[in-house]
Symmetry: C2
Subunit: 285 residues, 2 copies
């Protein structure tokens, strides 16, 4: 990044990526908490979902997207996908020079700090649960905690089918959450970016004594602190018409736009198609 | 294929591919109906599902897999995925010289031939329904029919979660199938390779007056006829230990093996990992 001076750097966009549309809940929080930033969102809609895929595959796909974002001169990257944060973040951190953060650590940190009875639940995709990354991070901060994980593979398709408030979603949620209720947890991490969209259902079933942690919120907060620390926070609002928010997907731009507009109130004018696998060989920076 | 004489050709394997595990229901039928054939199965588990993806993406992925199968000297190819048959088959037919068949045409043919009241239902993925390929093929055979299509995006995740006999699957099926019942169809095409696995649920909801068409069965039958016509049917059983059935996936070999063994009673000893996108550039044959 030698061709940038610090002011140019500050005004550079932040890259945000996810396996598909779920990461938009993280994007939304970043837009809200640091409204001066330019953002480039990439959703890997051609290869969604990542939740059931292996560490090797998720890492390869994530690396391609990071290369694409670097080609677009981003100053920092947010891995707005729990599975990719769980499987790929550590590897990617070593491969690039710009700051990169995931959604797992911020969520784990808040959960560890807020639990009173030391019993934390984590719900997420199969990949996130298998990676064991939430329990690892939580115990790095607070050793004496019990962490119970539960994979909820049907939540993503139910959300994408639009069944946010529905008896079927209630029934499936009751089954998935039963063990967590039995253990009497007081804190539950919504460890998949789709889950905040059924937060009401989950909250009703868990009961008001359980504190729901939304990593999207915590991630945006941590991103802001990171940018301040590195003197990368953009101090002035981008000029009108400067294309503050750009959206790229690997497939189905129209379909993405429709779903995206239901999550982000900002009107998404268009999304462009990019073939992520073309970035396999891009040189590391 | 000039380096093969007709006997070598007959003994060459048949390639069967799908977006993931669903095509195993087609594989199973082929194993049953033409037991002398060697088969190579490819499941694109890294990029599953195809159901919600665009025509361009499904065609690109299918082409890569066809290249992989051709590298393995298959004598014919079965597209054991409704979405890929709907979107990619016509393009692929023009690009290769060996016979290639999909699951759509055989299913459409039987439905057109067996309906008595001229009202046919089709259930499938979003891609299969949007492609409109079932109505097109059905009307090629019989003009005066009504075809009602319904996309059922939750069926695949429900099957993959193992909820084959479950009140939730019942409830979702009732919602999806309600319009088809109202129209009084007498024939219903199970237009996605996962659906035969919940055939009992679908049959119970539709009632015994509705004839369920399983394209897997019809495809195996049509494949047999095709091989006979082209003098490609293998007349003798492969020798013991000759690796009659081989399985390749693009991700998660162990997970595939477990699911596959629940569908195919033949013990699947192992599945090998292949990165499908590496076959992008292979020359056409």
């Amino acid at each position: 990044m030698l061709d940038f001076d610090q002011n140019d750097k500050k005004e550079a966009p932040i890259g945000v990526f996810d396996s598909g549309v779920g990461g938009l809940t993280v994007m939304r929080e970043i837009m809200r908490q640091i409204p001066n930033e330019k953002l480039i969102y990439f959703g890997d809609t051609a290869r969604v979902p990542y939740g059931g895929k292996s560490k090797e595959t998720v890492t390869r796909y994530s690396r391609q997207i990071v290369h694409f974002l670097q080609e677009n001169h981003v100053k920092a990257i947010v891995v707005a996908c729990n599975t990719a944060s769980a499987y790929a973040l550590e590897t990617l951190e070593k491969e690039i020079q710009i700051p990169i953060i995931g959604v797992v650590k911020p969520g784990a940190k808040v959960a560890a700090e807020t639990t009173k009875n030391g019993k934390i639940g984590v719900i997420g995709t199969e990949g996130t649960v298998l990676s064991n990354i939430y329990p690892t991070y939580i115990r790095d901060i607070k050793q004496q905690v019990q962490v119970l994980q539960k994979a909820c593979p049907l939540f993503v398709p139910l959300v994408e089918e639009g069944l946010l408030e529905d008896p079927v979603t209630d029934e499936i949620a009751k089954r998935y959450l039963a063990e967590l209720i039995d253990l009497d947890i007081d804190t539950l991490i919504l460890g998949c970016t789709h889950y905040p969209l059924i937060r009401d259902t989950i909250g009703r079933i868990m009961g008001s004594q359980v504190n729901l942690v939304n990593p999207a919120y915590e991630t945006a907060r941590e991103l802001k602190e990171l940018l301040e620390r590195e003197a990368l926070l953009n101090s002035r609002h981008p000029e009108l018409g400067s294309n503050q928010y750009q959206f790229f997907v690997s497939d189905g731009a129209e379909k993405f736009k429709n779903f995206a507009n239901s999550i982000i109130k900002y009107g998404i004018l268009s999304a462009k198609i990019v073939s992520a696998e073309d970035y396999e060989g891009t040189s590391k920076r």
